[in-house]
């Protein structure tokens, strides 16, 4: 029972986890990425398109490509042109909504949904799948779940232990000092934003290809913003983001059970993730600190 609930929390929390890991890369380099929601929309739509025409792997590739394209625009606008990062992100979200509707009509003659698509073959973790009480957690898994949870220690290692990670953190904390030491601030910030695009694209593709089996308009339901909140709650670290993403997944899977019991009107159950986000951000549970130069465009002295 407990492991079933946990397994359901993992399935629900995975898109938040992937996008939150992306947000960690972007924000540690000093760029706020409110466009994660739009990138996830692109991922969910183009993931379904790729999976519909050429299978789940093509879906992932197309989703990542579309999402990275958005990330590239975000980086160009907010890093190169030093425009307000929030404005750029919000514009991308509006753009993604329009592109998804437009393309959906062009490809499927319907603005709001795609045909059914085939996901990956579910996998079992060899060895562990023999233990009875672990079964719900280690059998019948989407490969993306495994990838997502492997990315947590990997991201922790990349950010904390590698030269690239050190440099990424340096431009997020003090871009001027990093620049003085010869680091390429703009390149590193591009890298951070593009990595967040890769992960948000996967998060979106997971929703449509793996979780639902089709694209439905609005299926991201603000998970991009919730991922930002999860990253903040996780104190800008991959492991913390994982904990927060699981908390959100848990709240969502729990809410499905409450709906089944029909005690509270379902509209109120639907509010839970959003209300939880507000509670988490209000620091009711704990306080966090962002990177020092997060959200501030870096401007070299103009000659």
């Amino acid at each position: 029972m407990v492991s079933e609930l946990l397994a359901s929390a993992i399935r629900m929390g995975l898109p938040v986890l992937l996008a939150a890991l992306g947000a960690v890369y972007s924000e540690r380099s000093g760029v706020v990425n409110i466009g994660l929601e739009g990138m996830m929309i692109m991922g969910s739509f183009w993931g379904a398109v790729g999976a519909y025409y050429a299978g789940p792997l093509a879906g992932m590739a197309l989703a990542v490509a579309a999402s990275v394209l958005m990330a590239l625009v975000h980086a160009a606008v907010s890093v190169t042109f030093r425009v307000d990062q929030i404005v750029s992100g919000v514009a991308l979200n509006i753009l993604a909504y329009g592109v998804a509707r437009f393309s959906s009509i062009a490809l499927f003659q319907k603005a709001t949904m795609s045909p059914h698509v085939q996901g990956f073959t579910p996998i079992n973790i060899p060895g562990l799948d023999q233990i009875p009480w672990l079964k719900p957690l280690v059998t019948n898994l989407s490969p993306l779940v495994v990838v997502g949870f492997l990315l947590v220690p990997l991201s922790h290692w990349v950010i904390e232990k590698t030269v690239f990670g050190l440099r990424l953190r340096a431009v997020g904390e003090n871009p001027l000092a990093a620049d003085t030491l010869g680091l390429k601030v703009f390149h590193l910030r591009y890298a951070g934003v593009l990595l967040s695009g890769v992960l948000a694209g996967l998060a979106g593709a997971y929703l449509s290809v793996e979780h639902t089996g089709m694209y439905v308009e609005g299926m991201t339901q603000g998970k991009g913003y919730i991922a930002l909140a999860a990253m903040i709650f996780g104190n800008w670290s991959p492991v913390g983001a994982m904990g927060a993403a699981l908390l959100f997944g848990f709240a969502e899977s729990l809410s499905f059970r409450v709906v089944e019991s029909a005690v509270v009107p379902y509209q109120f159950i639907k509010m839970i993730p959003y209300a939880l986000t507000l509670v988490v951000l209000a620091g009711v549970l704990k306080r966090t600190t962002p990177p020092a130069a997060d959200g501030i465009p870096y401007e070299r002295e103009e000659a």
Binding site: F81, V87, V90, A96, Q267, M271
Partner: protein, 374 residues
Amino acid sequence: MRKRYRYVALELASPLVAIAFAVLVGAVVIAAIGKDPVEVYRIMFTFAFRRLDSVGIMLFGATPLIFSGLAVAISFRAGLFNIGVEGQYLIGTFLAALAGFALKGLPSFVHLPLVIAVAALGGALWSLLPVYLKVRRGVHEVISTIMLNYIAFSLIHYLIADVFMDRQQGLMPGVGNPLIRTPKIAPSALMPRMHGFLALFGVDLPRHVYLNWFFPLGLLLAVAVHYLIWRTAFGYELRAVGHNPAAAEAAGIDPAAVQIRAFLLSGLIAGVTGLSDLLSYFGYMDLDFPKGYGFTGIAVALMGKNNPLGIVLAALLFGFLNRGAEGVQTFAGVPMDTVVILQGVMILSIVVASAVMGRYIRRQERKEALGASW
């Protein structure tokens, strides 16, 4: 001084550059689905402008965008980003509908202003929590307002479908499904249309145009906001805080107090956004009440450079785009959603163009200042 005018011209150039770029991107998108962009744009213009009723519909379509654009702009001026206009106007619209159908027997000159006030207060109510969280707990208002948008959608859904749904819609038993909507608003709370007034000038709008007095009210509000921003002490504080909160504080302004007032004012205006539709076209609120005015309001505010006159022009532009897109969808088979793509592209290109030009102007000014000191 002649140079000053050149700078002003450069400022004004950026919205035009943004429009041109969006038109170009739109042309590529249209060509990508195998249509002729020139023909599509031609249809857009002729459909929107050839007939009087179409122009009236454009003005009706621009009306809510004037309100939502002004709401977003006021928060921008104070250095805040109100993405919650969406939720604020839905709450405002619902409370207005409630005051509209629940109160009966009031004369129109009491009922209508009351309903408008209730809508404004509803919008302000929904903006209270985000600004509190911002000022006291440092929660970024963008995320909190978006969360409250989702909460508002669910809450309104609950209130309309489960609590206040009109179960006496006069359908024959067993015929059709009743609409999921509130009861009808009393006639005393409805906003009169402009037909009678315009007829005095020989302009005869057909009955299917819902242009009403919220349009001139929006124009008046734009003038009032302009006065507030540029001619009052509060407007000065607002701009100071938006420009540089630390400097404003050093000058004796309390940034938190200014931001709270600005955000609540933004919420008040946001609350009224949906009323032009509610009190003339619908007469009740249903689950399909128009959404998205809040997000379009962001595009309107940015295109108008947070300047009330610019916002009116930008709202008219989007009114035209929406109307033209209807024609394009019907007569050229191009999805209406092209407009949403244009909006996104316009926002991105206007902010980039403004940033580039702003930097160019500053550089020129610095050069001149150096030149003058020689």
